[in-house]
Symmetry: C2
Subunit: 455 residues, 2 copies
């Protein structure tokens, strides 16, 4: 693709060199050729002085689009660098939904102050969005779409669409409302284009269209859009009145945001504000964000020390027992992690629910026994190969089976339990499983050792 | 949303009871009200007999849509249950891109046989798709879109769109080609609707549009669609000839597919065929898929046994040393996992590249020292609290700092290295990091112990 031929660093250098040679005045024509999304990427990477100059060189409408796309740190920085009248102009040119997101996620502490800079009508529109909880349909929806009345003829409807197409990009699906603004049907633009001129909208619209309530979670909205290959979803209130629509481009952003959170959650990293970059996050903030989970895991990890202390005499009399500790708990952790990740996806796609717990457990106990049995053979061979006596090798092999079955089972139950407690299964399960399997796996291992080796 | 009011199990029961009461004849009207995507979900869950009856009760065009959406197991089963003329009719009604995906991913061993059932023209169209590698733009693209010629007036162009809208859903962006079928511009339908009747397409089209080559990876296509909020991307060959377009609904499927793979990869589960379900995958297949990675990790994990054997005399003289083994390597693993997940996202979003390795390493060594320092304080206090002598507590605390810094550094480098070697960073890094940190972390710990405790 053309946009891809020139990478960000190249664009960045070109802009920086033009700025050095010609000053802010030279930036205008260069930036005007670029897409706002690409501009946002460059703005995030350059020095504060050039950030400011770039925003000033853009038309306010483009500047508003760029500001809506930059990450939290850059947005905060820009709002600090620009004067009140510049900020007010940028916010004025931003859509109410983008402005609400910016005020809520990027500069929550300046929300009231910045709302005060806006004209009353715009401020009211933004406040309306802020009334919905973050990450819901109400926050994502736009009010810029085309409304039709059911009694119009196809010809009249097309005329209206052509009129309104100047103001809104969202013309692919048209929404039919009655005199009380209740949603009564939808018309894909394609259907309108092929309808005979004289036919009425009511006759070719799709009646009783699907819609979501404004308080519905954005992830659910995304799942519906995907399931039915939609370009937009209408948002209606209880009484059926049409409030707005959520468009597919915002839905894609949601999908990626949720995927990012899942991946970070697997590494026990709580996710930060909207799309914080790797380099743009100050190192102290990264440390602060990570240390919490690490401490929690450390404290629960100290359980392993207590377990081992209880078996001090066994470990003292057969030192070789301790050699297999990391291998055993590692194997348990790996097996559990596999189960957790399968479960997390099964839950995310809606296939696995708490009421399936029995079936899931049966499946995972069976799978654990099989996997454990196969690994136990490898463990037995390995332990004997190192010259360990048969009883010790048997202890290791039996422990592998027990630990795999056990960690497979809790790896299945923890995500279901998290889901039930309305916690994010991905965030809770991955770290918990390792820690739980470590302490319990050790206990299993040393109890088996005590029994077989008669310690 | 309406589609959501009735859950899958409810739909499934209703369909099963109608089938029991009225036989296959009763299914038609019931199924006709349902969306193909919902039908596919139900077909996946019901008994083989009902699966077959449902497919037979559907119009072939709907049946083809359903078959394109069911998971691999169900698709294979259905193709076995239905007769050759039924299969041929379903494939005939399927788009070439869906048919190619089915033949390649679901029943690769029957590819030639099933292609033989198709009329020559259709078979040729499918073969054309199969010539492109899986998961590329060429595989995803459709040829059903609207072409315009640059010399048409807006009025003539709109007339053409209205003609072609009967056959294709993809009318939101129109593609302008020259007499040699080379892509010269795009016209968003919205722009055509607002253009003055007499104006020529060449005057209001967006010239030199972005396009991708057919061999481009689907993930890259998805990133472009997201970055620029597109509804479709044209696919062109070297000489600029327009081959097809990739639409946003397919791109969303790609995003979710890739997210699923990342999550599974973090649990060391190689991903299977297209959207295999949790329950629909036979347990033996699950075990077979999982055991490979577990064995690899087990074998690398045996390194820890060798490390510990080398330090047998140290562990023998101070048994308490072994008590802290799981805690230390657990902490190292957790720290490394955090870094890996941050890096994997940074790489996925394109922010972090191999040439940044120096900056990344500096950052992670710094972060590791800080995190390790904080955790070391906790470790020191904990070890002393348990009544351990100061030198041993110091060994543990110093090891925490060293292990955290070390695992932070390799947690940063492994994903970059994987990326360089064109391996999936998510799949390779998460399991490797734990195993590497285990063996090396133990070595660090016991070397520090040897030095401080003069063993």
């Amino acid at each position: 693709m053309r946009g891809g031929e020139e990478s960000e660093p190249v664009r960045e250098e070109r802009i920086a060199s033009v700025y050095q040679a010609q000053g802010a005045a030279g930036l205008g024509p260069l930036l005007a050729q670029m897409h706002p999304a690409d501009l946002a990427d460059v703005v995030e990477r350059v020095e504060p002085e050039l950030k400011q100059a770039m925003l000033r060189a853009l038309a306010p409408a483009t500047g508003a689009e760029v500001l809506a796309e930059t990450n939290t740190d850059t947005t905060r920085q820009l709002l600090g660098l620009l004067g009140p009248s510049e900020v007010s102009s940028l916010l004025h040119h931003m859509s109410p939904e983008d402005a609400a997101q910016l005020l809520d996620e990027d500069v929550p502490e300046r929300q009231q102050e910045l709302l005060g800079l806006l004209a009353e009508e715009k401020a009211a529109a933004v406040r309306l969005r802020l009334a919905y909880p973050p990450r819901t349909a109400g926050r994502l929806m736009t009010r810029r779409f085309v409304r039709l009345e059911p009694h119009l003829s196809a010809e009249q409807a097309l005329f209206q669409v052509r009129q309104q197409a100047r103001e809104t990009e969202n013309v692919h699906v048209l929404y039919v409302v009655d005199e009380e603004d209740r949603l009564v049907g939808v018309v894909p633009l394609r259907v309108l284009l092929t309808a005979p001129d004289g036919q009425r909208v009511a006759d070719f619209m799709e009646p009783e269209p699907e819609s979501v309530r404004p308080e519905v979670d954005q992830e659910e909205v995304a799942q519906r859009v995907m399931q039915y290959d939609l370009l937009s979803v209408p948002v209606t209130e209880e009484a059926g009145r049409l409030l707005g629509i959520v468009t597919v481009d915002d839905v894609m952003d949601v999908l990626v945001q949720e995927a990012t959170e899942d991946v970070l959650a697997f590494g026990s990293v709580p996710s930060g504000a909207k799309d914080e970059g790797y380099f743009s996050t100050p190192i102290l903030r990264t440390v602060r964000r990570r240390v919490g989970w690490l401490l929690v895991l450390f404290v629960t990890g100290t359980l392993t020390v207590n377990v081992l202390e209880r078996f001090a005499s066994e470990l003292d009399s057969v030192v070789a027992l301790s050699f297999f500790i990391p291998l055993l708990i590692g194997t348990g952790g790996n097996t559990g992690a596999q189960t957790v990740s399968t479960m997390v996806r099964g839950i995310a796609t809606g296939e696995v629910q708490l009421r399936d717990a029995g079936r899931v457990l049966l499946r995972e106990v069976g799978g654990g026994l099989l996997l454990g049995g196969l690994l136990a053979l490898a463990a037995l061979a390995f332990a004997l190969m190192l010259g360990n006596p048969m009883p010790l090798a048997l202890v290791v092999a039996l422990s592998v089976v027990a630990v795999c079955t056990w960690s497979n089972s809790i790896g299945a139950l923890i995500p279901l339990l998290a889901q039930r407690l309305r916690l994010d299964p991905a965030l809770v399960s991955a770290p918990l499983i390792t820690t739980l399997v470590d302490a319990t796996g050790l206990t299993i291992y040393l109890l088996i050792a005590r029994a077989i080796l008669h310690l």
